[in-house]
């Protein structure tokens, strides 16, 4: 088992992090389109999407069976399955892999649910260290407005309703995401995340992202697939 930072594989791994409503998924989608157009072999992997584990997670969430411990462990299981069966083999083959949320999401969320930070970090020690991890920084109010504009209400676990912080979903979301932002503030320097100001125009953020990604692809010409 290789540990975080020990993998020596030819591919490139770019991940996006941030709270819900930070716009990170939009940015990753735009990056994906560009890389495809440039002719790179690029694959997208989403948090919490392993076909083997997803059903269990879904059921646990729907029936509200998850405690902080099982929430943490089932997401680690899902991530492990994607790492073992997708991310590592793809990177070995030289692909560009894009992840919407990565281990830092678990560090921030699980610690906000009261799990011990050191335990969570060791739990994910098998993860590949990203080439660049982008963090989209956004004030809580802006994020909440974006989510409310896009869809009706917050989901149970997303608002941290399992923690009983408040019976009001809006208030619970505010309190829980506030805790998550505090955790991210600790994680950013600890793991060297690249901070992007997510209040800037979408095009400006994307431009910044592409420049940084490009710098990491220059020594990776072999990744290009024939057009």
């Amino acid at each position: 088992m290789k540990r975080y930072g020990d993998h020596r594989i030819p591919g490139r791994l770019f991940v996006v992090e941030g709270i819900d409503g930070s716009g990170k998924s939009t940015q990753l989608m735009l990056l994906h389109q560009w890389l495809k157009a440039e002719g790179y072999g690029v694959v997208f992997s989403e948090w919490n999407s392993s076909p083997l584990v997803k059903d269990t997670t879904k059921r646990g969430k729907k029936k509200q069976l998850l405690t902080p411990a099982t929430f943490s462990l089932i997401h680690a299981t899902d991530f492990a399955d994607r790492t073992e069966r997708n991310i590592i083999p793809l990177l070995k083959a030289g692909a560009v892999v894009l992840c919407d949320r990565y281990i830092y999401t678990a560090f921030a969320r699980d610690a906000s649910r009261g799990m011990e930070p050191e335990w969570i970090r060791e739990l994910y020690a098998f993860a590949v260290k990203p080439t660049v991890a982008f963090y989209f920084r956004v004030p809580l109010e802006v994020a909440m407005k974006r989510i409310n504009d896009a869809r009706a209400g917050f989901k149970y676990y997303e608002a941290g309703m399992d923690l009983g912080l408040s019976a009001d979903p809006d208030e619970s979301f505010r309190l829980f995401q506030g805790r998550i932002l505090e955790q991210y503030d600790r994680i950013i320097p600890e793991f060297g995340l690249t901070v992007i100001d997510a209040t800037l125009p979408i095009e400006t953020q994307q431009q910044e992202m592409r420049l940084m990604v490009l710098a990491k692809l220059t020594q990776a010409k072999q990744l290009r697939v024939a057009p």
Binding site: M1, R3, S50, L52, V53, D55, T56, R59, G60, L65, L66, T67, P68, A69, T70, L73, I74, A76, T77, A80, D81, T83, E84, R85, R113, G114, M115, E116, W119, E122, L123, A125, F126
Partner: protein
């Protein structure tokens, strides 16, 4: 009074648990389930309420693991974490509530089996140990020990060789027999290491079940004061447990002195 192997789970208090946690460990086909059945009956006759439990039976994950294993597609890290999720679910929803209610919890395997399997599959031992550090330290761990030569006929003449129990995911080029022998040999060796590290009570599993049962009864007797006598005890519990690092073995010793 219980403590974990170093990690506290939010909302899961362990210091007010009145029951006893008794673990039966041992490799596949060693006769654990027979002994659990006998012990449960015996303990109930003695007036103890008993919960018997085992691995992969949790409401949350049990089915998911079973389905995933049928496809044989789980990676080793994933499998380790899937089992740990299952264990955490059982711990929080079954084991700890039963211990809080004063039950004797008899568990067919515990974190040691989970750790042994993962370590034999080449995973980093420090990583494997860390994952399971939220488990409460049991009051007693009985390890039914057997050699691979005694184990093979039992497997052949009862259930046959199972894909996972033969470690076919590890040695896929071998036939089931060779694979079973290799895998179980490695597993037994790992159990011997864990037995030392975690102070297992080692019981020779070769004799007939009745003899093993007697040994288990004697071992369990030592950690259980009869319910009536317990009510008469007035000394505050836990006074002898001064140090943080109380070895598992010392718990029965301590109880014996007080009895």
């Amino acid at each position: 009074m219980k403590e974990s192997y170093g990690v506290r789970l939010p909302g899961l208090e362990l210091d007010d648990l009145a029951g006893k946690l008794i673990v039966l460990e041992g490799t596949d086909g060693v006769g654990r389930s027979t002994q659990i059945r006998l012990l449960k009956e015996w303990l109930e006759q003695q007036g103890h309420a008993v919960l018997d439990t085992g691995l992969t039976r949790s409401g949350l994950v049990g089915k998911g693991i079973k389905r995933a294993k049928e496809g044989h597609t789980l990676g080793r890290i994933t499998l380790t974490l899937f089992y740990a999720t299952d264990f955490a679910d059982r711990l929080e929803n079954e084991i700890v509530p039963a211990l809080r209610a004063g039950f004797v919890v008899l568990t067919d395997r515990y974190i040691y089996s989970l750790m042994a399997r993962s370590m034999v599959r080449g995973l980093d031992p420090a990583w494997v140990r860390n994952i399971h550090r939220f488990a409460p330290k049991p009051d007693a761990i009985f390890y039914l020990r057997i050699g691979v030569d005694e184990l093979i006929p039992r497997a052949v003449f009862t259930r046959g060789f199972d894909y996972w129990e033969s470690g076919m995911d590890l040695y896929s080029a071998e036939d089931m027999y060779d694979s079973f022998r290799k895998y179980q040999t490695a597993l037994l060796q790992k159990f011997d290491e864990l037995a030392e590290e975690f102070n297992f009570n080692v019981i020779d599993a070769r004799p007939e079940p009745r003899i093993i049962f007697e040994q288990l009864k004697a071992g369990i007797d030592r950690i259980l004061t009869p319910p009536l006598a317990r009510a008469a005890v007035t000394a505050p519990a836990g006074t002898a447990e001064a140090g943080d690092e109380v070895a598992l073995e010392e718990v029965p010793e301590d109880r014996r002195r007080r009895a």
